[in-house]
Point group: C2
Chain length 445, copies 2
């Protein structure tokens, strides 16, 4: 930008960045709220509205909020308006838009962490441990079956090469704990037996997903698979889970004593976020997902006598920023792959329908993978494991970046992710109906 | 980064970014909390602790949280640790650190907006209007006097050229409404006569500051000063203030009716943030500060019957993210300019002491610039206008970027900003002491 004197450019670029920050939040909050209100009136989970709001604003819709990774250009109308308001040329507006997008993603991550933190906080460790065996069984079946069905089917039926087939299969193993936790909380089913099994299995699924990702990255990277780093990751995951369980018994009371000592204002929410970020940092440092750390942090503080007050203080952060997270998932979904009139889509659509079916069957079957003495709605468990959401999109993004996937297979994986993500909240709502009357919805969402 | 396969790089860079996000929040919350607890025990405003925490973490201290604009390198120890944890080379860690910093600044801005929103919410429009004359007088005197003293003194006593002298003078006109609002809220003085005058004057000061900035940028840019855009800005500011006042009478009840209709969870905090971002966007679009919009949004909703509930929902956001804002101010302060043993500092120190004195005298005098029938603590008003904080740093950053300032003058302006920023909370605390017993501290901070 050498045409303008530096100071003016800096000021104008700063103004454009401020406009984009305020404008994006405004669009996201306003659209998500409108759609969420519609969903509540139709007795559907609000997250569906947030995803749809993202689709409307994103690459498939008005292109007002577009992730730079998508390569899709921002709406020319928006670029003109922002250029007019901030005195910047169109390419400068686009540069500022790309540079300022990661900030939105960090805010979205804060929302996801806060959501999983509150999910952990609302969980009861003893109840989770009581369904531990079932959760392990559901998680493992829900990983192995979709992987085998997907990879095997692609290779045998569609003659896809092994590397892309394995990658597609791996992308089918994920469960979006964010979507599941959000819907179960809104339906008041987090503490029900099925809710506990699904949350436990989704957490384990997240851990298995990290291991699978490491295996696939090694497999696709230089083709050689050394067991050392993988075993290290598995060990780290085990230590992390056991440490979280052990700490959860002790940290609650210690946290309460600390809060009694603290005097500066805002002590509760800041102290809770310190625990949250310690756990996120630790999880990331040993190679796990930060989101897993957020859930662990909530679980660790679930024994605090101030559990309710912590939840009330963190809930506004969830309401604001988890919305941003789910809307951003929607913005990244390119629904044009669903258009059967486009000939380039047709080759992908059959593969896509197969993947979607395999993804649904594989996870649904996990609901029947365990023995239980108590009556359990197995269909509810299977449906709870369905949504791939952001985890599926992360797999897809990595595969695309590595140039592993054909356009047809890329479209097929995206369709599988979109299908399971939208289907799960709808089905959960339908299945939950009969028992809703007596359920106490969580104030979480 | 062409050495590594793209996928691994993407994953490793993402992991490093996640570590930096969690790690920075952790460092900021933990350090700020430790210092804030110390301040509370010494009966000092917590914001002093947050600024000091920033100094400790930032360019003058351990260099763990370093704004890229400062050009100061990150701590080599931190780079090594992050490189070890994420398998990245040192230059890659530095690149990720620079790229991920704007996200922290956006979160800090959200904190500032939330703080000023709650400040507006806690304000009473009629009380503000009642002290309107005094506030205008304080704001104008507090802008004109420091400017004349600073610019005139630099030119007459130190033979500084007109352009840098005008720039330095302009940087002395600012008042940090964030710092003032935070301290007054914590001391329970937002609704006292002196608090109302200072908040009103600080808001007007922000508007005057924008106009002064536009004048100085035009003056320093191509040297020619066209009155058109400046008058346009003044008109926009007037319209904005009058519109905010007019809307504040009507929006409150309309907002209440809207909330009655909304049913999706989190409706109150999301609706409040929609109003907040509409006001921020509007303010930025017409060339004013987004922070001004945030205050206006709070004022507009102060007539809502849900004022208390809105405040309670937004307060955790303030506790978390306004802390980030004040810590970041501290990280950008380079205290090495204060070291008199460094010969390059000596030429600046005399100028610096002069500027600091002029900055203090000019603002203190504003406390005696108005007529009042009721007893008013004029010293308290003058001290409330003292802190330059982030606004002074923004002026400094623009001047440095434009290459207008000599290193000595840069150091002098920084010292003036640091001095007034740290002095104001200390003095306010001392002055507020006698009346503290009966005061009701706001839960805002």
């Amino acid at each position: 930008m050498p045409d303008l004197p530096l100071m003016v450019t800096g000021h104008a670029a700063g103004e454009a960045a401020n406009l984009l920050v305020a404008g994006r939040f405004l669009l996201i909050f306003l659209t998500a709220r409108l759609f969420a209100e519609g969903m509540v009136r139709w007795r559907l989970p609000t997250i569906l509205g947030e995803l749809l709001a993202g689709v409307l604003l994103g690459v498939s819709g008005l292109r007002l909020v577009v992730p730079p990774e998508s390569g899709v250009p921002l709406s020319p109308w928006l670029v003109t308006q922002l250029g007019f308001l901030s005195d910047l040329a169109p390419d400068q507006v686009l540069a500022v838009a790309d540079e300022s997008f990661p900030a939105l993603q960090v805010v979205a991550s804060l929302g996801l962490y806060a959501l999983l933190f509150v999910t952990g906080l609302e969980s009861d460790l003893d109840e989770l441990i009581a369904v531990g065996g079932q959760a392990v069984s559901v998680a493992c079946t829900g990983v192995v079956l979709p992987f085998l069905l997907g990879t095997g089917g692609l290779m045998l039926l569609f003659h896809v090469d092994p590397v892309p087939a394995v990658f597609a299969g791996a992308s089918m193993t994920a469960t979006s704990i964010g979507i599941t936790a959000s819907v179960f909380a809104e339906l008041g089913m987090l503490r029900r037996r099925e809710g506990l099994i699904v949350i436990g299995a989704a957490v384990l699924d997240d851990i298995l997903g990290i291991v699978i990702l490491a295996v696939v990255v090694a497999f696709a990277g230089d083709g050689s698979l050394t067991p050392g780093p993988i075993l290290q990751l598995v060990a780290a995951a085990l230590v992390f889970v056991l440490a979280a369980i052990a700490l959860s018994r002790r940290i609650g009371p210690a946290f309460d004593r600390l809060i009694d000592v603290l005097k500066a204002p805002g002590e509760l929410v800041v102290a809770a976020f310190v625990v949250l970020f310690v756990a996120c940092f630790t999880a990331t440092a040993i190679g796990l997902e930060a989101a897993l750390g957020a859930f662990a942090a909530g679980l660790i503080l679930s024994n605090s006598s101030r559990r309710e007050a912590i939840r009330d203080a963190v809930t506004p952060v969830v309401s604001l920023f988890a919305t941003v997270f789910f809307v951003l998932i929607g913005t990244a979904m390119d629904l044009s792959v669903l258009d059967p009139t486009d000939p380039t889509n047709r080759s992908g659509l059959l593969v896509a329908l197969f993947l979607l079916l395999a993804a649904i069957v594989g996870k649904l079957a996990s609901g029947w993978s365990f023995v239980s003495r108590e009556p359990t709605d197995r269909l509810l468990v299977g449906v709870g494991m369905l949504p791939r959401g952001e985890v599926g999109l992360i797999f897809l993004g990595l595969g695309t970046a590595a140039g592993l996937l054909s356009p047809a297979l890329e479209a097929a994986i995206l369709l599988m992710v979109i299908g399971t993500t939208f289907l799960a909240p709808l089905l959960l709502r339908l299945l939950a109906s009969p028992s809703m009357a007596g359920a106490q919805p969580s104030p979480l969402r």
